[in-house]
Amino acid sequence: MSAMSVANTLDVQDLRTWFHTERGEVKAVNGVSFSVQPGEVMGLVGESGSGKSMTGFSIMGLIDPPGRVVGGRVLFKGRDLLTSSEAERRALRGNRIAMIFQDPMMTLNPVLRIDTQMIEAVQAHRRVPRRVALELCGRTLERVGIAAPDERLRCYPNQLSGGLRQRVAIAIALLNEPDLIIADEPTTALDVTVQAQILFEMQKICAETGTSLIWITHDLSVVAGLADHVGVMYAGRLVEYGSVHHVLEAPRHPYTGALIDSVPQPHQRGGPLRQIRGAYSLAAAASASCAFAERCDHATASCAADPDLQAHSDRRLLRCHHPLPTDRR
């Protein structure tokens, strides 16, 4: 594990979030650790059921019963969010830590005008006159690439297209110049060209302001283009973490390797795609063995014990008994 330095914007250590359901404990997040430095973009990748969204919600403190965070630490600039009071967390949310959701209507109130909502987001954390706040809103909308912001400010959310709404949601996240933004699949439902525009804006903003960004997605290609580091999750556990270059060029975890091979590549046109044997199951996730073992081509008897997350070299984490060889390609 990387040295816990105050310079890190965010340090997540062995985060666990469990849900109590009528069929037992569902361990939605079961051992996730990573760190994010100022200005850095981290991609958190996984498929359905991997717990990536829950990780984001846990960091923000948005887990409601029957779920609760049962273990670990979430250090935001050295301060543990999990042990802070709700009032302290509320002071940070929308202010120093912001979240962007997949559906912009989770951020936007359909019955309020855009300017009303944005000004509210500003004035919740700072005492500024309305006129100043309005100006800031206009400027922030321009930063996310919205032309004619004054007109848009007077609109209601339903008058805007999906892409514009998402950009407004991103603008709201940026209003108070947060140190950390957590984006949960914000471009999954958007067109390629709109996604490209949003990714372009995010890259620019992180480079200019030193904001850290955690981009949660199932789309490896987006992570490849956007992120500096990537974490791969499976069944609630972080199974691999490292720089984008290392993880995508030379994955060490069998799941990461299989995932990369499943994505259609230009050179394999027409041929069969690599399939991962079996299917994700809650039972495997809840068991004491490695969650991926039953689908893994390299599993042996030792995989009956769930491996720990181990550090390999600088900022490289791996949870596997039988990593792939480094010269895979």
Partner: protein, 341 residues
């Protein structure tokens, strides 16, 4: 194989669309009624939404035609016109060289069964109240393709063909995962022996690893059964992988068609070029995303002339006034542009 239908005239594609347009009537609104009363408009309703405009394309036997585009391009509407869910406002739909829109009764049904669809949402495309055996087995039984007593066998065979177990026939859709439901949807379509399947974003809602399984399944079925597909998707990597030929749509019009490898290697239309440049790939070089100027216009209010001109770096006066026709550049590659590369 259905032996009732006439064989296609030699050389005719399996399915052809000729100059097909589809517009949707919009209901009258207070604003539009007011305009009509004031004499500013000729009708009480607002002008119809032209979702598909003068599209001609064809799919050959055993061929996979990919259809790509973004929101508002009309690809889903076009898919539904092909399969008969929407009736084209103008133009013709030919199946095996025969105009099928005017058919009725058993003739129409026979052809309808050969044109099937695989839907996008694995959760909404299966009736939650029916067991799988009814979902898959209802249509073949109703249309007399199989005898009632053979239904269980036929369902079992259909399920096994898509990689599911026969004993799953007794369960309900909510007991399956997204990938399994996608397969059930494919089994349902296969159960009536189609020749052409329209896959409307059939893998878009699936996880990457499950997507790979379903794509492999679709390709295997094409090999085994000689099926043709109209594969609609916004995911360029997937289309490039599976399609033989690709058509690109923008705001209701086809702007380019070409064999898949050629389209991705040397796109000629500015929109296709932008689309390919902006699609993220796994190549790790920290990509500099180049934003394409402007937003996709609303289909309710499309630009004049070439729909793409407001966002095109090379637009000229001609582009603003005259819509370019789809012209062949060489044998198999066509572009709708006044100034293709």
């Amino acid at each position: 194989m259905n032996t009732e239908l006439p064989a296609a005239p030699h050389g005719a594609p399996l399915l052809e669309l000729r100059h097909v347009s589809k517009s949707f009537q919009r209901p009258a609104t207070p604003a539009s009624t007011l305009r009509w009363l004031k004499g500013q408009a000729t009708a009480r309703r607002p002008s119809p939404l032209l979702a598909v405009s003068n599209v001609s394309l064809h799919v050959g036997e055993g061929e996979i035609l990919g259809l790509v585009g973004e929101s508002g391009c009309g690809k889903s509407t076009l898919g539904r016109v092909v399969v008969g869910l929407h009736r084209a406002t103008r133009g013709e739909r030919l199946y095996r060289g025969e105009r099928i829109d005017a058919l009725t009764g058993r003739d129409a049904v026979a052809r309808q069964l050969e044109l099937q669809m695989v839907f996008q949402d694995p959760y909404a495309s299966l009736n939650p109240r029916l067991r799988v055996r009814d979902i898959v087995g209802e249509a073949p039984a109703v249309h007399g393709l199989i005898a009632k007593r053979q239904q269980a066998e036929h369902v079992a065979a259909s399920l096994e063909r898509v990689g599911l177990r026969a004993d799953m026939a007794e369960r309900f859709p909510h007991q399956f995962s997204g990938g399994q439901r996608a397969r059930i949807g494919i089994a349902r379509a296969l159960a009536v022996n189609p020749r052409l399947m329209v896959c409307d974003e059939a893998v878009a809602a699936l996880d990457v690893s499950v997507q790979a399984q379903v794509l492999n399944l679709l390709m295997d079925l094409r090999e085994q059964l000689g099926l043709s597909y109209l594969f609609i998707s916004h995911n360029l990597a997937v289309v490039h992988h599976i399609a033989d030929r690709v058509a690109v749509m923008y705001l209701g019009r086809v702007v380019e068609t070409a064999p898949a490898s050629e389209l991705f290697r040397s796109p000629l239309h500015p929109y296709t070029q932008a689309l390919l440049a902006e699609a993220p790939t796994l190549k790790v070089a920290k990509k500099k995303f180049v934003a394409i100027r402007g937003e996709i216009p609303s289909p309710l209010n499309p630009p004049t002339g070439c729909h793409f001109h407001p966002r095109c770096a090379r637009a000229t006066e001609l582009c603003k006034t005259q819509a370019p026709a789809l012209r062949a550049v060489d044998g198999t590659h066509s572009v709708a542009c006044h100034l293709p590369d």
